[in-house]
């Protein structure tokens, strides 16, 4: 592939032809602020926060959509650039409910991060504000369109990742909105609740309902694991606060799925706290289950299994292992069946 040579902040940089300035900078370890850019989505060039100065260019181009050329000289944090970014942020903040102290996205909100970086406290622009009602009519996602900055990431994620095409832009000007067809709540739309839109939203406009009011992002421990539902093997992080799972967060690092998940992986985890979970061994006595200690249970199991094997032979025993359990558990079950019970009668439920 052809390579292009340019300088960014005085540093000589090489990048494959066709890269954007933002990508070339990233490869050189220079981070350019961005709101609407997501490496896994098409580039929109909507927010203009990524503007940079290019020598010989009077305008400040948006680096996420401007390709590099040979000999280009780029500056990413000049006064003009900083001023432009401040203005963009001030305009966004003018129409943003500044309830950051109770916002669930705080800690993972790009808008707040960049306002901090560029010292934007509030806005000199006094503008009209939206008063959209909250859409929390579904069990999974809370939508607060008052916090939407129209970066379009949700629209692109829905179309380009899931292909559900459930979101688009409606209305014009101040009323412009990234929303469902006919602007109905998610639950009444064609939404399949994959939550891709939530994963890419840079603000508190889209948040996971299960995590709402439970923790700020910096209080959350993330434990990388593998989805327990289908054979695709998506990876994600369990969000843990005070020893409890409060949600699932996807990660671009997941080898199979990246940021993508389906409704089961993203929102189905709450079965682990179903009140019907068994917490102690049960022994059936006179047709009724009664709670027992582990010791009692093991004693009874050992006595019965061994007695039946001794009386009727190894093949009077059979084990059904599990396509839902770990490899290690499966290994132990077949080992126990073969080595101790002496039978190859071991199988699991979905051999297909």
């Amino acid at each position: 592939m052809d390579r292009v040579k340019l300088t960014i902040n005085g540093k000589e940089v090489e990048a494959p032809a066709g890269s954007t300035i933002l990508q070339a900078a990233e490869m050189a370890g220079i981070e350019i602020p961005r709101l609407c850019y997501d490496p896994h989505l098409s580039s929109l060039g909507a927010c203009r926060l990524c503007v940079v100065e290019v020598k010989g260019n009077r305008l400040l181009p948006a680096s996420c959509v401007t390709p590099v050329t040979n000999g280009m000289e780029v500056e990413t944090e000049t006064d003009a650039v900083v001023q432009a970014r401040k203005t963009i942020l001030e305009l966004l903040v003018a129409n943003h409910p500044l309830d950051c102290m109770t916002c669930d996205k705080m800690g993972a909100c790009k808008l707040a991060d960049y306002c901090y970086k560029y010292e934007v406290k509030d806005s000199p622009f006094v503008g009209e504000r939206h008063h959209y009602p909250l859409d929390d009519s579904n069990p999974f996602i809370i939508r607060d369109m008052n916090k939407c900055i129209l970066c379009g990431a949700c629209v692109r994620a829905c179309e380009e990742m899931t292909g559900q095409d459930n979101l688009s832009y409606l209305y014009r000007g101040f009323d412009r909105k990234a929303t469902t067809a006919a602007d109905v709540p998610y639950i009444e739309s064609d939404c399949v609740f994959c939550g891709q839109c939530v994963a890419v939203c840079p603000t508190g406009a889209l948040v996971e309902k299960s995590m709402s009011g439970k923790a700020r992002r910096w209080d959350i421990d993330r434990v990388r694991t593998t989805c327990p539902f289908c054979g695709t093997g998506c990876n994600f992080d369990l969000a843990v606060k005070d020893g409890k799972v409060i949600g699932v967060l996807s990660t671009p690092e997941a080898p199979v799925n990246g940021q993508m998940l389906c409704v089961k992986g993203r929102f189905g985890w709450d079965f682990i706290y179903n009140e019907k979970r068994l917490t102690a061994p049960l022994i059936k006595k006179n047709g009724q289950f009664v709670e027992a200690s582990w010791d009692e249970a093991y004693d009874l199991i050992a006595e019965k299994f061994n007695a039946i094997r001794d009386q009727y032979g190894p093949d009077s025993f059979a084990a059904l292992s599990s396509a839902r359990c770990t490899n290690e558990e499966n290994y132990l079950v077949q080992k126990l069946t073969r080595a101790h019970m002496g039978s190859n009668n071991v199988d699991h439920c979905a051999r297909t």
Binding site: P139, V192, T225, T226, C227, P228, F229, C230, G231, T232, G233, L238, V245, P255, M260, V263, K264, F267, G268, D270, I272, N274, K276, R277, L278, P281, L282, K284, A297, I301, A302, K304, N306, I308, P314, S316, F317, A318, L320, S321, T326, N327, E328, E329, N330, Y331, V333, Q334, K335, L336, R338, H340, G342, N345, D347, H348, C349, A350, R351, T352
Partner: protein
């Protein structure tokens, strides 16, 4: 996976998931509703189709991906083999087969040729309901596209002829040389999260971990030495045989870990009777499931969030499962199994699941190079024989696992049960997006939105029966009856009803047929004859 194991020497998905968006020029989907059963794979297929890859969908039902497809072959249920034979017939007649691949890498081609000779397009069109024109178009397209991947799931395996279906798919791929390269292959997509892993670990009656035959004396000796016990060399019972043996009083005790066959096996009533017949049943489960109700002892299980370990996904990728919270029953499952074994007189003791993995991988050459330290850095796809080996994204490069690929021609096997006067509807079953067998209905969030079975009826049938959206019906087969609500949709053909099997209140599997694939013993979940009464 008996089909692929005989044909290629390995039953696993040949090519990785990422090739869908990165390599494939054509995707042939047979009996797989990917956007619902394997959503992320389905989403990737949709992305690939929208980026220009061709898509062919063979399914009796108008699944979502039909919207992205270049061809939709709406076959009559249970006619996959005639379809595949018909495509091969055309490919051979037109000289589009990969002669070099056949000559160098396969055997038994002449027999295949003889069998598919009997499937001319006109006859196949009659049998399958697909137009002659489409048969030609699809045969030519698949044969002449360089990088073409085939995908299938339960739609193809949960038939009385499931194994033969799979072999026919393998025949088609070999005939056209679509194997052993990126962007090609035969991809069975595993239903549950760790079906692949359970097989890899030897939770099968005929093999030890790593697909090493229990009947091979050298292998037997190796495991006897490692486990310090004499081991049986006779192949054990498959699931349906276990329950049969329980019926007959030959199997007297069972241990069931994390499975709910009463809800998920075809012909649930038969299973219940078998469980009742046992002298002693131990079930280790998260919940008091329909199966656990039959137990003498129930051990509480820990969920995936409470255990360390690994799962192996459908593309043979071993990945870590990490404990995030304290186990709700007080201990992870591997400890419970170890303590139980120890009490039974067979001591098992490990400090951490990584030690269990290490013991396993020291005995299974195909996974010998995988360990927890490496998995900490990245997932690995087996075969991975040494710690230096990078893993194997696609199989059968240059040579099949068994050496030469074996053509295994198959003839049409009609479903065990077809509609008749008394039972005029054809019932077909599958998975829906929002549920996954048995666990998701326990998710309060998911259950609150999708809380009951909705049997799908074609509008014409609905009208005939006087059904409306959400009407209640009684659906009866020769084996049982269930009550369900109704959804009216053109996704199904007239004369066909489609249901899932996720809901305890509508245990669809009480209806399904007890016809079994003679090779794998897989139940015929897909097709059963039923009658319908409006309530």
């Amino acid at each position: 996976m008996a089909g692929l194991a005989t044909t290629f020497g390995s039953g696993a998905m040949t090519n990785p998931i990422y090739e869908i968006t990165e390599e494939a020029e054509l995707m042939l989907l047979i009996g797989t509703n990917a956007t619902e059963a394997h959503p992320i794979i389905g989403y990737k297929m949709r992305q690939a189709a929208r980026n220009g890859a061709k898509m062919i969908v063979c399914d009796p039902r108008r699944i979502d991906l039909v919207d992205e497809a270049d061809y939709w072959l709406q076959i009559k249920p249970g006619t996959d083999i005639p379809l595949l034979n018909g495509l091969m017939h055309i490919i051979i007649k037109e000289g589009l087969e990969d002669k070099q691949f056949i000559a160098e890498r396969t055997e038994n081609y002449e027999e295949l040729k003889a069998v598919v000779e009997n499937y001319p397009p006109e006859k196949v069109s009659e049998m399958t309901g697909v137009s002659v024109e489409d048969l030609y178009a699809v045969a030519r397209l698949y044969a002449t596209t360089d990088k073409a991947m085939i995908f299938y799931t339960l739609g193809i395996t949960e038939h009385i002829c499931g194994t033969r279906n799979v072999m026919s798919i393998a025949n088609l791929a070999m005939l056209t040389g679509h194997l052993g390269r990126p962007g090609t292959g035969v991809c069975p997509m595993r239903g549950q999260n760790n079906v692949q892993g359970a097989c890899d670990m030897g939770a099968l009656p005929n093999v030890y971990p790593g697909y090493q035959a229990v009947t091979n004396p050298d292998i037997q000796q190796k495991f006897e030495k490692a486990w310090g016990k004499e081991l049986p060399n006779k192949v054990g019972l498959k699931i349906p045989e276990m329950f049969e043996a329980a019926h007959e009083g030959k199997v007297k005790a069972m241990y069931i870990l994390g499975e709910n066959p009463v809800l998920t096996d075809p012909n649930a009533n038969h299973i219940k009777a078998a469980l009742e017949h046992l002298d002693f049943l131990v079930v280790q489960e998260l919940f008091l499931t329909e199966t656990a109700e039959f137990a003498d002892v129930v051990l509480p299980a820990a969920s995936f969030a409470e255990c360390n370990g690994t799962f192996t996904n459908t593309e043979r990728r071993v990945q870590r499962v990490r404990q995030a919270i304290e186990p709700i029953p007080g201990q992870p499952n591997w400890i419970t199994i170890c303590q139980m074994a120890t009490r039974m007189g067979y001591p098992m003791s490990y400090e951490h699941p990584s030690e269990i993995w290490d013991e396993m991988s020291s005995l299974a050459p195909s996974m010998a190079g995988v360990n927890y330290d490496r998995l900490e850095k990245s997932s690995l796809q087996w075969p991975c024989p040494t710690v230096e080996h990078p893993g194997t994204p696609f199989l059968h490069s240059g040579k099949f696992t068994r050496g030469l690929g074996l053509f295994q021609p198959a003839d049409h096997v009609p479903p065990a049960e077809m509609p008749d006067k008394e039972y005029p509807f054809l019932l077909s079953t599958g998975r829906i997006l929002y549920h996954y067998n048995v666990t998701t209905p326990y998710s309060p969030g998911i259950a609150s939105v999708w809380d009951k079975e909705l049997a799908e009826f074609h509008p014409l049938d609905a009208e005939k029966l006087g059904l409306k959206e959400d009407s209640k019906v009684k659906i009866t087969s020769r084996r049982g009856e269930v009550i369900s609500a109704v959804k009216i949709t053109e996704r199904v053909q007239p004369g066909m009803i489609w249901m899932s099997f996720h809901y305890a209140e509508t245990p669809t599997n009480e209806l399904t047929s007890d016809g079994l694939d003679p090779i794998t013993g897989t139940g015929e979940y897909k097709v059963a004859a039923v009658k319908v009464e409006k309530l």
